[in-house]
Amino acid sequence: MNSQSATAPAQGAEAMIKMAGVEKWYGEFKALTDINLSVRQGEKIVLCGPSGSGKSTLIRCINHLEPYQKGEIRVGGTVLSDDSRIIDAIRREVGMVFQHFNLFPHLTVLENCMLAPMRSLRASKAQAEATARRLLGRVKIAEQAEKYPAQLSGGQQQRVAIARALCMQPKVMLFDEPTSALDPEMVKEVLDTMTGLAEEGMTMICVTHEMGFARQVADRVIFMASGAIVEEAPPAEFFTKPRHERTRQFLGEILRKH
C-alpha cells in the first residue's frame, strides 16, 4: 500500500528534506510507517489525509518536535539526530506555523517576531526589529506591531505567526493546518500570504485540506492514511485520476464538504 509515485521529481543532491524509511511509535502505537519523502529546494508539498493519519506527526518529526525511532531524516544535508546542537541547527533552518498560531501572548507582535532572532541568531535589537518590521509589512500587518496577539483577529494572528517564523530566515516552512482554526472569511488572507511565499520560491510542506490552494500552489500532493504515504502525484493528476481507492474515498468526502 505504500507505493511511491514514479512521478516524484525530487531526487539527488538538491534534496532539501529527505526522509528515508522513517518509522515512529507513540509507545505501542505505530504512528508512521516507512515514510520515504524527498523535497527539493523550492518545492511545495501539500500533505492531506484523514484525521489521525499521521500528517502532523510527519512534519513534527522534521524539526524534532517528535523524535523518530527508525530510518533517517536529512534537512539540508544534515542528518537529524538526538544531538541538541544538531536539533538547534535544523530548527534554525526550518520554520513552523501551527493550527492555533501559538503566538506568545505576553509579548507584542513585534516582540514575538524579534525574540528568536535575538536569542538564537544573536541578532542585535536594531537588526531584529528591522527584519521584524519588514516581514510584518510583507504579511500586511505592519501597523499592528505594537499590539498584543489577543487584540488581533485569527487571520491576523496567523499572519503574525508566519512573519515570526520568517524572521529566522528559514530555508523550509512547515504548515500544520494553518487555516483550520480560522473563521471562513479569514482563510483567504492566510492562504494568499502562503501563496505569496510560494511564489517567492520558499520550500514548503503544508498540511491542509484547502484543495484550491493545493491545485494552485502544490508541486505534489501527498495522501496519507494510517501512518503511511498512500499516494503522491502532481495536483492535476492527483485530483483527476487518483489511483487508490482510499484516495478516491477521501477526495469524495473532502470535496463534498467544501
Binding site: 524539526n63 538547534d88 501559538n102 506568545f104 525574540l115 528568536a116 538564537s120 498584543y148 505567526a161 529566522m168
Partner: protein, 213 residues
C-alpha cells in the same frame, strides 16, 4: 498600655516582617529551582523534588521548625534561633512555592513550548522568555495567597523562642494583664500586613485576566 509596650510590639512586628521576607525570598529562589526540577523531564530530579514537596506539605510547619531547630542542634550545629527559623521557613516555602509554580508551568499551553522549540530557542530562553512570564501570571493569586499564609505562619516561630509579633504580644499581655487589648492590636497589625496583599493579589489577577483575553 504605654508607649514602651507598643514599641515592643513593633519590634516583634519587625521580626515577623523580616522572617516573612526571608522565607519568601529564600523560598522564591529555591522554590523556582524545585519547580524547574519538577518539570525537567529528568526522572531522578523529578522524584527527589516530589518527595521533598510531599514531606513538607504532609507535615505541620510547627514540626518542621522543631526538626530544623533541635535536629540541627543534635548533629552539633548550634544555630542562633533566628537562623534556624529562617532555614525552616525557607525549606517550607520552597516546597509550597515549588509546587504552586510547577502547576503554573504545566498550565502554560503546550503549544507555547512547541512554538519556542520550533523557533530554536534553547531551554533557558524558553523558560525565561516564554514559559515563566506566563506561569508567573497564572500563579499570582496562589503565590500571594501563600505569602499571606506564610506571614501568619511566622507566629509559630515563637515556639522555638523567637520573639516575633505573636510572642511579643504574649509577653506584653502577661505583663499588663490586658489580653483583649494586646491581642486586638496584634491581630490588627497582622491584618494590616495581610489584607493589602490580598487586595493586590485580586487586582493583579483582574488586570492579567483583562490583558490576556
Amino acid at each position: 498600655m504605654g508607649a514602651n509596650e507598643f514599641l515592643f510590639l513593633l519590634i516583634g512586628l519587625k521580626w515577623t516582617i523580616a522572617l516573612s521576607v526571608i522565607g519568601f525570598v529564600g523560598g522564591g529562589v529555591f522554590g523556582l529551582g524545585v519547580a524547574l526540577a519538577r518539570t525537567s523531564g529528568i526522572p531522578l530530579l523529578e522524584r527527589v523534588t516530589s518527595g521533598y514537596i510531599a514531606i513538607f506539605q504532609g507535615t505541620p510547619l510547627l514540626m518542621q521548625l522543631f526538626v530544623v531547630y533541635y535536629g540541627l542542634a543534635l548533629i552539633g550545629l548550634k544555630l542562633d534561633s533566628w537562623v534556624a527559623v529562617s532555614i525552616g521557613f525557607t525549606l517550607h516555602a520552597s516546597a509550597y512555592l515549588g509546587e504552586i509554580w510547577r502547576g503554573s508551568i504545566e498550565a502554560v499551553p503546550k503549544g507555547q513550548t512547541e512554538a519556542a522549540k520550533a523557533l530554536s530557542l534553547n531551554y533557558v530562553s524558553r523558560m525565561k522568555d516564554v514559559i515563566l512570564p506566563q506561569a508567573i501570571r497564572i500563579s499570582l493569586p496562589a503565590t500571594i495567597g501563600f505569602l499571606v499564609q506564610l506571614i501568619k505562619g511566622t507566629s509559630l516561630a515563637a515556639i522555638v523562642g523567637f520573639t516575633e509579633l505573636a510572642r511579643a504580644g504574649n509577653i506584653i499581655s502577661n505583663q499588663i494583664f490586658q489580653p483583649l487589648l494586646v491581642f486586638g492590636i496584634v491581630g490588627a497589625l497582622y491584618f494590616v500586613m495581610c489584607w493589602p496583599l490580598s487586595l493586590v493579589g485580586a487586582r493583579l489577577e483582574r488586570q492579567f485576566a483583562a490583558a490576556t483575553r
